[in-house]
């Protein structure tokens, strides 16, 4: 060595890069390293030990005993020499060592007499730091101690490697998660986008099928119809799956009629059962009427499993059964089972049938159809409800799929609030104007399920005749009908008959502007076909509630403002303009303050706005604000506050609209 003042390894830039890779410098203490340092002190019987790393300018101590500083300048460190070596550097007595005998750390400072240091060498061969044992007296290590020191050095490097691997893994994991998320979002969006035009395709195909066609054309159209419906099934399945995977599918906790739900599933599928099959629904006598859980998902699971059972069974029976296993103070455990005497599943396929796009036989899809997603969805839906789907099966003997769900008990009060039943609407008498016999049948069965009465008119003219003879609670109106279509019929009911009876439009295709046209002629709601039962029921409920609480067209009373303005029309208009300008801005500010939980501001704004409403004698809105102000004063916002606020927003919009039209 040319006795350089400060030794620099020949591969210094690469060495520094290797060190940086570990992200170890200036990191927090870590007991894996502290333990290694303790071990060194213990094995070598020394008062000072450390693990350190050397960068451009300093020796930084990751872990130390007996040093008491976090770093020292590189040029005064012993270890700057150690990292030049490939093996352990041991100086039994610094006083007899030419290089170190006059070193400040020997004469003074740490008073180093004994030094043993091993370079910490990365797997790619760079000495990034050292592990050292130091004493104030001269000593010599034995072979066991030297050996132990080398082993510890290797462990320290392994520890470092592990750290970077973990960081890498985490990064990879995040990338993977993001990719999955993006995929799910993409799927969900795409499915949605595809569904819209597909509904139009199905709707128009249905319309086309009703026109005069020759045999060949009819055959083609039927193929299109089947393909369209299958495609819709696949897309709905994919949408469900992507919702599950992206965590967007939440399990509801609502009270529902369990028995009714099961009977509904049974009735829905009964129509598909071939006559050689006996289809049963067995319910435990002790089964609860009402439970709290997710009705929709139970429905979906059972329809799926039972649909499969019916598909794969050529003779014998398919049975849905529910048994109460356990009842605690607040919960029921219920075992749901769908059993068939169908083709069964070979033992080696029992596991894979729940995987996506796998069916028991490759030929299954060709023979029985289906998307290959159904069972996977069922499995995930059951698992989302903290359960597990199980299957027992023997080829040619049949299969049983079963699972145990735990539902919370519902009390009587919750039973009343049950959301998805037509129950509390009493027995509505409904008039359907619809020319298509299939649709008539479908709607009839759905309305029967809801527990309502239905009269059917083949066209608008016949509907009007029935309407003038009988009392109805509401009308379901198809738009395309012979003689008098839905629009003409509605216009006649509203204008000639002067009736306010709620009218719900039902149509097979959703054309742009169609909905607006329905409302414009005086219909109250709009349900696109193919319709979901829930959607129809919701629409019925909405219009019936509207009917029981008639929405008064708001009247803005200007008498107060007129009194104030002493007959000066310009001033009156000026105040109206000022109100329109300010109130919309203020309600926006109020909403902002509400979302920021800025109670003071909400209190002030709502108080101040009251005076503006007073000008137009809008007492209900002043009341709204008083409520919000009171809540702000109490320093707590509730859902009621949010409701009042959104009510306020919509009412202001209405008021402003009226004022602008003056």
């Amino acid at each position: 060595m040319n006795n350089p003042q400060h030794p620099i390894p020949h591969n210094e830039p690469e060495r520094l890069a290797a060190l940086k890779r570990y992200n170890i410098l200036d990191s927090l203490p870590n007991h894996a390293f502290d333990d290694a340092t303790k071990l060194v002190a213990y094995i070598c019987g020394v008062p000072i030990a450390h693990i350190s790393f050397i960068d451009e300018s300093r020796q930084w101590f990751k872990s130390e005993i007996g040093i008491g500083v976090t770093e020292v300048p590189r040029e005064i460190s012993f270890c700057q020499y150690t990292i030049m070596e490939s093996e352990m550097v041991e100086i039994p007595d610094t006083h007899t060592n030419e290089r170190f005998k006059d070193d400040p750390n020997v004469i003074d400072g740490f008073k180093i007499r004994f030094y043993a240091g091993i370079p910490l060498t990365t797997p790619d061969g760079y000495n990034i730091g050292t592990i050292c044992a130091i004493d104030h007296v001269s000593k010599e290590l034995n072979d066991n101690q030297r050996n132990a020191l080398s082993i510890i050095a290797k462990h320290v490097i392994n520890q470092l490697e592990l750290g970077t691997k973990n960081i890498d893994l985490n990064t990879q994991k995040k990338i993977a998660q993001r990719a999955v998320h993006a995929k799910d979002n993409f799927l969900a969006n795409m499915s949605h986008e595809i569904r819209t035009p597909l509904n139009a395709i199905i709707g128009f195909t249905d319309l086309l099928a009703q026109t005069k066609l020759d045999t060949v054309q009819r055959d083609y159209i039927e193929s299109v119809q089947i393909a369209g419906e299958n495609l819709l099934l696949i897309i709905n399945d994919i949408l469900d799956l992507s919702k599950i995977e992206s965590g967007n599918l939440k399990i509801d906790e609502q009270p529902f009629h369990l028995k009714k739900t099961l009977k509904h599933v049974y009735n829905l599928l009964k129509v598909k059962v071939p006559k050689d099959i006996e289809f049963n629904l067995f319910l435990d006598a002790e089964m609860p009427e009402v439970v709290i859980g997710d009705q929709g998902r139970l429905n979906q699971i059972l329809v799926n499993l039972t649909g499969n059972a019916l598909k794969f069974t050529e003779e014998g029976e398919v049975t849905i059964s529910v048994k109460k296993l356990e009842e605690t103070e607040d919960r029921y455990a219920l075992r749901f089972s769908v059993k068939d005497t169908g083709i069964g599943i070979p033992e080696n396929k029992l596991k894979t049938i729940f995987e996506r796009f796998t069916q028991a036989e490759e030929s299954t899809t060709r023979r029985f159809g289906g998307t290959g997603l159904g069972l996977n969805i069922v499995k995930q839906l059951v698992e989302l409800q903290d359960s597990k789907i199980q299957v027992k099966s023997k080829p040619d003997r049949g299969s049983e799929f079963f699972f145990v769900l735990t539902y919370k008990k519902a009390n009587q009060a919750e039973l009343v609030a049950e959301p998805l039943s037509g129950e509390h609407l009493h027995k509505l008498k409904i008039l359907l104007c619809e020319d298509n016999v299939l649709n008539q049948k479908l709607i009839k069965s759905v309305i029967d399920n809801f527990g309502f009465e239905l009269d059917i008119a083949d066209n608008g003219e016949a509907g009007i005749a029935l309407l003038s003879k009988n009392e109805y609670d509401l009308i379901l109106m198809d738009l395309q009908m012979p003689v008098k279509d839905g629009y003409q019929t509605t216009e006649y009911i509203r204008n000639e008959m002067q009736l306010t009876i709620p009218i719900i439009a039902m149509t097979a295709h959703s054309l742009v502007g169609e909905q607006e046209r329905c409302y414009a002629v005086g219909m109250d709601a709009y349900v696109p076909k193919p319709f979901k039962q829930v959607v129809l029921l919701d629409a019925i409920k909405t219009v019936m509630n509207k009917d029981s609480m008639p929405v008064q067209k708001r009247l803005v009373d200007l008498s107060f403002l007129e009194e104030m303005s002493c007959g000066n029309l310009n001033f009156k208009q000026e105040m109206i303009d000022l109100f329109i300008e300010k109130i919309q801005m203020e309600v926006t500010q109020l909403e902002e303050a509400f979302h920021n939980n800025d109670y003071d501001r909400v209190e002030k704004l709502s108080h101040n706005m009251k005076s503006s409403f007073d000008m137009f004698l809008l007492e209900d809105l002043t009341g709204c604000l008083s409520f919000i102000e009171k809540e702000a004063k109490l320093r707590q916002f509730t859902t009621e506050t949010a409701e009042q606020l959104s009510l306020l927003r919509s009412e202001i919009t209405e008021v402003v609209k009226i004022l602008k039209e003056l």
Binding site: E563, N568, L578, S611, L617
Partner: protein
């Protein structure tokens, strides 16, 4: 007759001013309680018409200051949309001559103003 009007809601303030001006009063209007009080100290008014909740200081504080610090018995009408009975009691307690709950009927306000001014005259 000169009236000072303190009310932070712009529409109500402007309307009241317009109304009172139409009835022959001179109205100085303020949206900030502090500014209203400064004007009261600097000028001579025949009547004070004030809201309670305002930026700056409140109508209550204005009343208190006028009665206690200035020692004036100028008629004061307080109006507010707070529906709390105690507010009305407090208003009289600190020396207001009239208390009117919002919405303030212009006719009623005019009657009260005239009554207070006549009594004084």
């Amino acid at each position: 007759m000169k009236i000072v009007l303190a009310e932070d809601n712009e529409i109500l303030r402007k309307s009241l001013s317009f109304f009172l001006a139409s009835k022959g009063f001179t109205v100085d209007q303020f949206s900030d309680g502090k500014e209203a009080l400064n004007a009261i100290e600097a000028n001579s008014y025949d009547l004070i018409l004030t809201d309670i909740n305002m930026p700056g200081i409140s109508g209550m504080e204005i009343t208190q200051y006028v009665r206690q610090s200035i020692g004036s018995d100028i008629p004061i009408i307080i109006f507010t949309s707070s529906g709390v009975e105690q507010t009305e009691l407090d208003s009289f307690d600190i020396g207001a001559n009239e208390f009117i709950a919002k919405p303030v009927s212009p006719a009623v306000l005019l009657v009260r103003i005239n009554k207070l001014l006549n009594k004084r005259a």
